[in-house]
Symmetry: C2
Subunit: 255 residues, 2 copies
């Protein structure tokens, strides 16, 4: 297929390179910042543009990977005879201005310099019509990824869940990292613990996998932690510790 990408951030970069490797032809990379577009375009042998007037309207598909708030505007500026899909978890299918429209949401955390394992990547599809759905299914297959079908409401819930499972979990690791660095300890010490925390969830629910002082109702250890935080960390860390401890106590009937 002949595909153009609108946006040149993390998601665009990984999907664009993935589809290029799978022998799709990438035509235009559009970005407000031409330098970003250039950078990606070089890797996939595409044109980089920063003006909607210059966009090639003879392509088969536009893939829109821009911040959610810009999706509607960008969609309205594209040649309307071409199918459009966006890659946002929290944006309705109907945000796109064309009839022939779909959503192609990769449920993953993308960082620009970290390779993605497409073989395990769940891609959540929604489409206005079966023809476009089949095209998206082929793209998922070409990436070697795993297709799932959800509607806009379910996708929004999944996106919210992903913020907890990924973004907030990563914040927890960041806070842990800070504590180790402040005490001249190597943050990599925590890697086996982080891996096991995830591995357990392949075999049991997160509810059943919960461990730690809160689920044991161990108020003695919780008190020691609070004291330690008050001595060395900020008040926001104390607030986070207290709120999350309370949530575990409450979820597991210890309050």
């Amino acid at each position: 297929m002949r595909i153009s990408f609108i946006g040149s951030g993390n998601v665009s970069t990984h999907l664009c390179r993935g589809l290029y490797k799978a022998n799709h032809q990438i035509i235009d990379i559009f970005s407000q910042d031409l330098k970003n577009a250039n950078h990606l375009a070089k890797f996939v042998n595409a044109n980089s543009i920063n003006s909607f007037a210059k966009i090639d309207s003879s392509v088969d598909l536009f893939i829109i990977c821009v911040p959610d708030i810009h999706i509607e505007f960008v969609s309205s500026q594209l040649p309307s005879q071409v199918a459009q899909i966006h890659t946002s978890g929290s944006t309705n299918l109907t945000a796109l201005y064309v009839e022939n429209r779909g959503v192609f949401y990769p449920l993953q955390t993308f960082s620009i310099n970290k390779l993605i394992d497409f073989s395990t990547l769940p891609i959540l599809l929604e489409s206005s019509n079966d023809d476009l759905l089949k095209i998206m299914q082929l793209l998922v297959a070409d990436l070697g990824s795993v297709e799932h079908h959800v509607n806009s409401e379910q996708r929004k819930k999944l996106h919210l869940a992903a913020v907890f499972a990924c973004n907030f979990s990563n914040l927890m690791s960041n806070i842990a990292e800070d504590i180790l660095l402040e005490n001249n300890l190597d943050p990599k010490l925590l890697i086996p613990l982080l891996e096991e925390t995830t591995n357990k969830l392949k075999e049991m629910s997160a509810y059943d996998a919960q461990t730690g002082p809160a689920i044991r109702g161990d108020m003695n250890t919780i008190g020691k932690h609070q004291q330690l935080i008050d001595e060395t960390s900020t008040s926001s860390i104390r607030k986070i510790y207290d709120l999350l401890t309370k949530e575990i106590l409450s979820k597991h009937g210890k309050l």
Copy 2:
């Protein structure tokens, strides 16, 4: 070595079985609840007891794996000529009543029915003397695990960090799981995301690995999430969302 375990919970079970497999002789399993002691004792060919009067004082080592708050009392009840080690992250070496004492803290999350990969397990050692330290180093080697040396202050910080990295991360997965289940979606959909969230931390700091609406300063998506939570989740989930979002915004200079 001839070793007795005090306590028969998660940590005791995994360590005891690991050392038994490595050809150490397990003599007594002590637990207040004889049924628990019996269960573990059967696997490692040991005696199960629930009275300190019955404990065999001819062993080489007592390994104390009881709730932190009971360590001091338990220690005071054991024959004082035998070396003692405890396995607690947040308890001082000096909580033990004997001179010949050590700490053997496995930095991992243990659930009773989930096998542990000893080969990647960091065990944090502290000892009152070099002879006992050498014995603990041998035990770590017998388990095939990885030894580290920390003092009581560092170990307490590590334990606090582990609560964030493991217990609170797991709570985040639990909240995500709840959201999926409420919407008839399979929680296993999140596994690749959880795995990648951890995998990234092998290559970059958690600070650099952060993704999501908060680090992008995407107040539009954050607003949508808040609305979604208000419609379907409890007020404590909203509080958690707001506090953690604010922490990411603040950490990354978006406030």
